[in-house]
């Protein structure tokens, strides 16, 4: 037992190290999300429950599910003793040093859950033979990839959000499923859905997997479903867990007859197809193609420039979009595309009993599909795929290759989040540090099986470096800066979208191929 405790001392070192590291950025730039969360502290502290989702004196209305609002209320209890002024509703844009310290520390502290989840994930790693050297143990590599993740560090601790806490729930729930403790996993995920509804994107994977692998206990010899083995008690247990969590969270609002108000706050469909900075997804490619066609059409005199709608997409504001040449995309179409994209994955884990890893793969595909085809996707949502993929990456060579492409492109697409000059050095150094680590550590881990990336991928990633240098350093000095201010964003999104789509397809291939292998056996 003592030896085991000893062997985990590196985890404590990593966790303490990263927590202190986060504290260094307390005085760094923070985005409007800081004020959003301060406002929520004020709303949940000073208003009764019935007003939470009606309050709109600030433009940053409460648009997370009720459990998160309760979390804010809990934080407000501590904030009261710290600096009571931040809890006043009319105190808009209040950011005294004490407030900044409190909010930043609250993120660092809630991250403790993420640290615990990362530790649980590290314990789920399957290793054939654990190397003696700590640095080349898969669990060590995974711990670094999760705890020191570039995206989480900049989004949470500089940009300001509570993603670490939320991903803590997700990873913990994944870890519980990997450990075959499905009820706990389901409970955690239900709680997570009530903390932030963006995780609905991966709910299909949870639903199908739990139904298939937990509620049906036996299979036919060929691996397909045996309907007679249905265990109603298990379904009942699952159902009651999920229903009770939702009842706890939404029940009071249903009782007050405010459900529709809450839902309208949670799902604001009036926002545009693409977020302020284009997330590197299929719609970025679509809009990029539209732009290219428009320019081409004007050049070839097929289109009149005056007839084109003003290219509102590129203004950097959250608003409606109109495409110039290609048909505009309604929300329903994005929903349909997303469903079509996840369907094969869901079918694949339904038709045959698959291991817990296949569930994780399916979850990743759901996350990526919704990222690629979803409506108004934030570029931050890429973390939903990058973080769980870390687990697979330390276990297999092929996934490691996918991880490198996806994490590099996905992380780079986060760059526009930090645009202030003082944070430039931080984002560049942190990104380079994380990238060097992930390349060398994963390469070292799978070194017996050859290189991780094929030449084409290497060329693509080198191209990404070139795009980065061009956009961040050369473009601001060039004369195009005035004329085409959106060009770097466009180039970045389109280029990164290629990498993300490629990773999506390759990940799909790994899931379906393992399916076929099983069939042949």
């Amino acid at each position: 037992m003592a030896a085991q405790a000893e062997s985990w001392s590196w985890f404590t070192a990593l966790a303490v190290g990263v927590s202190l590291f986060k504290c260094l950025f307390i005085n760094a730039y923070h985005s409007t999300d800081f004020e959003v969360h301060r406002n929520w502290l004020a709303i949940t502290h000073s208003l009764p429950l019935s007003r939470w989702y009606h309050e709109n004196s600030s433009e940053w209305t409460l648009d997370y599910p009720p459990l998160f609002a309760w979390l804010e209320r809990g934080l407000a209890q501590a904030a009261r003793h710290w600096d009571g002024d931040m809890l006043r509703l009319d105190n808009l844009n209040y950011a005294s040093p004490a407030t900044v310290l409190f909010q930043r520390l609250s993120v660092v502290c809630t991250d403790l859950l993420f640290i615990y989840a990362a530790r649980e994930c590290c314990r789920c790693i399957r290793v054939q033979k654990a190397p003696q050297v700590v640095l080349s143990q898969p669990s060590f590599v995974l711990a670094v990839l999760l705890l020191w993740n570039f995206g989480l560090l900049i989004v949470d601790h500089i940009h300001f959000q509570y993603n670490g806490f939320l991903f803590g729930f997700l990873l913990l729930s994944v870890a519980r499923h990997l450990q075959s403790r499905h009820l706990q996993g389901a409970l955690l995920f239900a709680v997570l859905l009530n903390l932030k509804h963006i995780f609905l994107y991966v709910a299909p994977a949870y639903g199908i997997f739990l139904l298939r692998s937990y509620c049906f206990t036996l299979d036919r010899p060929d691996g397909s479903i045996r309907w007679s083995s249905f265990a109603p008690l298990r379904l009942l247990a699952l159902g009651s867990i999920v229903v009770s969590v939702f009842a706890l969270s939404f029940g009071p609002f249903v009782a007050m007859g405010q459900l529709s108000q809450v839902v309208s706050r949670l799902f604001p469909f009036r926002r545009g197809l693409c977020h302020a900075y284009w997330a590197p997804n299929a719609w970025a490619l679509y809009s990029g193609a539209d732009k290219a066609l428009a320019v081409l059409g004007v050049r070839l005199k097929l289109l009149q420039e005056a007839e084109l709608p003003r290219a509102a997409m590129t203004g950097g504001l959250v608003q409606e979009v109109q495409h110039a040449v290609l048909p505009s995309v309604p929300p329903a179409a994005t929903l349909l595309c997303t469903l079509l994209a996840v369907l094969p994955a869901l079918v694949s884990i339904w038709r045959r009993r698959r291991g817990n890893r296949a569930f994780l793969r399916c979850l990743l595909l759901c996350a990526l599909a919704s990222f690629l085809f979803g409506w108004h996707v934030h570029e931050k949502a890429i973390l939903l795929a990058v973080l769980p993929l870390s687990i697979l990456a330390v276990e297999s060579r092929e996934d490691a290759g996918i991880f490198l492409v996806l994490s590099t492109t996905g992380h780079y697409s986060l760059f526009p989040l930090l645009f202030t000059p003082a944070e430039m050095i931080i984002k560049v150094c942190l990104m380079v540090m994380f990238t060097i680590y992930s390349f060398t550590a994963l390469g070292n881990l799978h070194r017996s099986q050859g290189s991780l990336l094929c030449p084409m991928e290497v060329v693509y990633l080198l191209g990404l470096a070139a795009v980065a240098i061009a956009c961040e350093f050369i473009f601001p000095l060039s004369p195009w800066r005035q004329k085409l201010p959106f060009l770097p964003l466009l180039a970045t999104s389109v280029y990164c979208a290629v990498g993300v789509s490629y990773s999506f397809l390759r990940l799909y291939a790994t899931l379906l191929r393992s399916n076929n292998k099983r069939k042949q056996l």
Binding site: A13, L20, L24, N27, A422, I425, C429, N444
Partner: protein, 505 residues
């Protein structure tokens, strides 16, 4: 993992921590009329850029020496001029004569912080990397651990990136000197050290060991034969370097004299503020400054400094090994810090640098000292509003180093080099000594933590307004004295055989 990737990750982490600290406040932010060291550096840029070189060190109508007059050697002035040149391109308001006084803006802060980072990346960090890769024993992992520990030493980071100074330059040059001497390139080493001396006169703390090491090498090679050639080469290098640095001032004797007068301000008294050296600590018991005249104070401190520094230097002269050189650097700089005239609390960085170089051999002692040295500057950090970065690095550094270097497991190795203790106290079994060391370490860490918290949280009683600064400096002084005695003892014992064979170059 390949060494290159570990090294680059360490360097990037070091840069990130530095930049993270630099997002905080600086000395004298928004405190007219005098501001602080940040304004001093900006003012030097203004003066050097706008005035002819002959007026830099003189009090003129355009150059008020009472307002942060230039009091560092010429290399600092040239560096200021270079920064001012860049500043003038970016925004002429930053260095405009007279009108830019007290200029503060986020963009300017960013510029100033960047200049510090640039010099660090160019001078200090490469020297540390090379030192750890080429002059440190042990596995690749061990060397990278040492590298990370040295780069993350909080004292230097907080002073350079928080308080605002360019210590990385002079310390970096000195380290280049150590590095070159360690690799056997004597001329290059003396060149680098001359540059260090010409950047900050405080580098004199290291001068004695450098001098003795080089002289000792010459003597060993035979003063009539090869040693003489070596001596001539070194002397020529030093003279030429100094000559080039002072070239613009040389034609006029009064210029040189004025620079020297500015650099060594004898009139400023035995000590200022609360500094963790002997005189200030003694001052709580005896008011030396009122008993002795300022001349006798000067002689007294000179005598004590020489008395404390000479033994280790003479030892080095007799046995010019790299091992002795490193120890002599520690002893000499500590002797100067503890006993010399007009010491600043920031001067402890000069002792911290050579202590960092011994991290591999004495992990516990060095971590302990480095921690105490950061602690000794606490009042300064509090004044500058650096509480958050101080807390983070003060907690992080011992945790990280103790983990990386397994400092607490190696107490027994400390005794190994302290054979004399075994002779003095034969009754204490070895295992107990290790245990005692460990507990002393814990207690002292706890003491420093408690004093830090008290300084922040409590108001001192009205009749003792300086209670906490005095407590801090006295505590730190005891640590420094202990470390000084420890390393003096170590130097006068035979070096451990394994090390001596490798280090004899």
């Amino acid at each position: 993992m390949q060494t290159w990737s570990l090294v680059s990750i360490s360097v990037l982490l070091a840069v990130l921590v530095r930049w993270g600290v630099s997002l905080n406040s600086y000395s004298g932010a928004g405190k007219p009329p005098m501001f602080g060291d940040y304004e001093a550096q900006r003012h030097w840029q203004e003066v050097t850029y706008n005035l002819p070189l002959q007026q830099w060190y003189f009090n003129t109508s355009d150059n008020d020496l009472n307002y942060w007059g230039l009091d560092y050697p010429p290399l600092t002035a040239y560096h200021s001029w270079l920064c001012a040149y860049v500043a003038n391109i970016l925004n002429p308001d930053w260095v405009e004569l007279h009108r830019s006084r007290g200029y503060e803006s986020p963009a300017h802060k960013l510029f100033m912080r960047t200049t510090v980072l640039v010099t660090d990346v160019l001078i200090y960090i490469p020297a540390v990397v090379l030192y750890c890769l080429y002059l440190t024993d042990g596995s690749a992992k061990r060397r990278v651990s040492i590298l990370l520990s040295i780069l993350l030493y909080p004292g230097l980071i907080l002073i350079d990136y928080g308080h605002f100074q360019y210590n990385g330059v002079s310390l970096g040059f000195a380290l280049w000197g150590v590095l070159a001497l360690g690799l056997g390139w004597n001329s290059l080493g003396s060149l680098a050290f001359s540059l260090a001396l010409n950047y900050k006169q405080m580098e004199l703390y290291h001068a004695l060991p450098f001098f003795c090491f080089l002289l000792g090498k010459c003597i060993k090679a035979g003063l009539i034969g090869r040693g003489f050639v070596l001596l001539v080469k070194i002397t020529a290098t030093v003279l030429v370097t100094f000559g080039l640095c002072w070239l613009p001032f040389l034609p006029d004797n009064s210029q040189v004299l004025q620079v020297v007068r500015r650099i060594f301000p004898v009139a400023r008294g035995l000590f200022e503020d609360k500094v963790a050296n002997t005189w200030c600590s003694l001052n709580t018991l005896i008011k030396i400054r009122s008993i002795l005249t300022s001349d006798s104070q000067l002689y007294l401190s000179l005598a004590f400094t020489l008395l404390a520094a000479l033994p280790s230097s003479i030892r080095l002269l007799m046995k010019p090994t790299f091992w002795n050189f490193k120890l002599a650097l520690v002893n000499s700089s500590l002797a100067f810090f503890l006993f010399s005239y007009q010491v600043h609390e920031k001067s402890i960085l000069l002792a911290a640098l050579p202590v960092c170089l011994l991290l591999n051999e004495f992990p516990l002692m060095c971590v302990w000292f480095l921690q105490a040295s950061t602690f000794s500057m606490l009042p300064l950090f509090l004044k500058d509003g650096l509480l958050v970065p101080y807390t983070v690095t003060f907690l992080g550094f011992p945790f990280l180093t103790v983990y990386l270097l397994s400092a607490l497991d190696d107490c027994s190795e400390d005794e190994l080099k302290l054979g004399i203790c075994g002779k003095l106290f034969p009754l204490i079994p070895k295992i107990h000594l290790a245990c005692i060391m460990k507990w002393k370490f814990y207690i002292s860490m706890a003491l420093m933590a408690v004093l830090s918290v008290l300084s922040v949280v409590m108001d001192p009683p009205p009749h003792l307004p300086d209670l906490f600064p005095v407590l801090v400096s006295t505590t730190a002084f005891m640590h420094f004295l202990g470390v000084f005695l420890h390393f003096s003892m170590v130097q006068f014992m035979e070096p451990p055989r394994k090390k001596s064979r490798k280090k004899n170059n």
